[in-house]
């Protein structure tokens, strides 16, 4: 029993990071109807930038802030330079349906290749803000480190901040309006193109943060965040892909589930587990845990 609880605790901080990646994918999906596969590459790029800043300043915090800002800038640029021109000549037929998928995949390859050219392919360590050693309370070890606490806290803070922006500010209202009713939003004077780019920027920052938070526990290489992308996508789908709250819960559920798989079946199965979860969710409850029916095929 104790072991099972330890396993669940182990899953919480990973779950929080998956939730963050899910948030990045959901933000883009809601505004653009594109699943941004390049997000894995964007996050890797910003994490390397963070690593570089850390080397220069030896400050974790400056590195973190620069990485998050860089992620935001890159996210906005991706929308401006690729996604916008792509959606402009939206035709019909199979090419139009696959163009955004192909485009973001192509970008993923470019970004990972460029990162590899600049920083090489060897695995690197990214520093953690706090100790990654397990805490012990009253003599018993809990598999949860000060850094894990930091991860959960910062992810919660980000979620609350996004919640505030979306529910309480004019920008958030414009973003929701542009996502759910683009034509009405335009008629109401919302500059939907700009709003969308802001959404891509937010997503880029969220993805960058996810990258910086997960790398101390794994490692950094040009394609090391592919798995984070897959897990983030799975978390987003569990939550219904439209709902940010759903994505957060999906991330947590996936983190716990994968921790259990890791503990009892071994690491080889965690990758396949994401696939199985995706298939099961999509077949049994395609609208996700919180999604509404009939919103799935768009």
């Amino acid at each position: 029993m104790q072991q099972f609880i330890d396993t669940l605790i182990l899953g919480v901080s990973f779950g929080a990071i998956y939730a963050l990646m899910a948030l990045a994918l959901i933000l883009v999906w809601r505004s653009t109807r594109v699943v941004n596969f390049a997000q894995a590459g964007q996050a890797v790029l910003s994490t390397y930038i963070g690593l570089e800043i850390h080397r220069l300043t030896s400050s974790y915090w400056i590195a973190l802030i620069v990485a998050v800002i860089a992620g935001g800038i890159v996210g906005g640029l991706v929308d401006l330079l690729m996604v916008r021109p792509l959606s402009r000549h939206s035709g019909t037929g199979p090419e139009a349906a696959v163009a955004p998928v192909i485009g973001t995949l192509g970008l993923l390859a470019i970004v990972q290749g460029v990162v590899g050219i600049f920083w090489g392919g060897e695995f690197r360590k990214y520093p953690a803000a706090f100790s990654t050693d397990a805490i012990s309370i009253g003599g018993s070890r809990i598999p949860f480190s000060p850094f894990d606490i930091f991860i959960v806290a910062i992810v919660l803070a980000v979620m609350v901040a996004f919640g505030f922006i979306f529910q309480r500010t004019g920008l958030g209202l414009a973003m929701r309006a542009a996502a759910f009713g683009s034509e009405v939003a335009q008629l109401a004077g919302v500059r939907t193109g700009r709003v969308r780019t802001v959404g891509w920027s937010f997503a880029g920052s969220a993805g960058a943060l996810a990258g910086v938070l997960i790398t101390p526990n794994v490692f950094l290489a040009p394609n090391s965040l592919d798995l984070l992308l897959v897990f983030g996508f799975t978390a987003a789908v569990i939550g219904g892909l439209e709902s940010m709250v759903g994505g957060a819960l999906g991330g947590l559920a996936l983190g716990l589930g994968l921790a259990i798989v890791l503990q009892y079946l071994g690491s080889s199965f965690t990758f396949m587990a994401a696939f199985v979860v995706l298939i099961v969710v999509l077949l049994v409850r395609p609208q996700g845990l919180l999604g509404k029916k009939g919103a799935r095929r768009a």
């Binding site: 139009a96 998928v101 090489g120 996508f233 077949l283």
Partner: protein, 331 residues
Amino acid sequence: MLKLIPRPLRTLIVIALLAVVFILLADRVDEYRVYQGATIAAYVVAIISIVLLTGYSGQVSLGHGALMAVGGYSAALVVQNLHWPLWISFFVAVLGAAAVGAILGIAAARLSGPYLAGTTLAFAVGLPSIANRFTALGGEQGIGYDVGLPPARFGDSFTQYKWLFWICAAATLVAVGVAIHISRSRYGRIWRAVRADETAAALAGINVARSKVLVFTISAGFAGLAGALFSTTVFLVAPASFSLGLSFLILTGAVIGGVRSIYGAIIGAFVLIIIPIIAETLSSGASESVATNLPAVITGALLVLTVLLSPGGTAATFEHLTKAIRGKVRH
């Protein structure tokens, strides 16, 4: 004149002519080119599997590299353990991958665009790690799988690579013929109808879901054959051969060639062979990290440029050009 010959026969004649050209070519170029020819043949089949799926039903799979792995492993296992002959192992590859493809296809029929892409992405990421896990599958080292020595009656000058090329080219020609036949059959028409407008197709009495499962299954079968052929060119089946990069690579070939065109698959396969050559030329003298990463950058750039500039791929561009030229001639 040519129109007097019935269409299936014409296809057969074209394929037979291609076979003759290949045999003559293989005798005239050097060993390395012959080897590349075998790789191109494997790529052609892999890209056709994408063309059938994406071009004929509008579904996107990022998991076909993993389906190739299923084919490769199925084939290698029956050769290694049961000592079945090579050509039967090709059929086993087709059936094995098609069986997995059918399961994926049932899920795929209910998914569209990004959902399918994401799910098959998870499949592609997950599968190689399973192969790593089981000793029967050879772990990271994989299992040996090759075409064997050429028959003695071909003489001493008939090299191993030439034999490899003959086998891959023959299998590919058969696969191309089958793919063309399928695309012209009733099923091809049904798939195109579904691709054009699902609702209209359903109203016309087509079982859309069943048609999607079928196309995914057949596409997976082609991927399985491609996996077996691809494995013969590297003489083994190992998890590392079927990385996510392979899924992307064949998708690139399909997109560049044009996802609607089976002939485009041939263009795409050549491009895939040329990319590393270009990268090598460009990065000569540069550092090692440039050399290893340049192919990925070029691949990605080609993908992005293709969807931005010529969404129909090169085959469609050629089609437009020839139409434009013909139009001018007629007027």
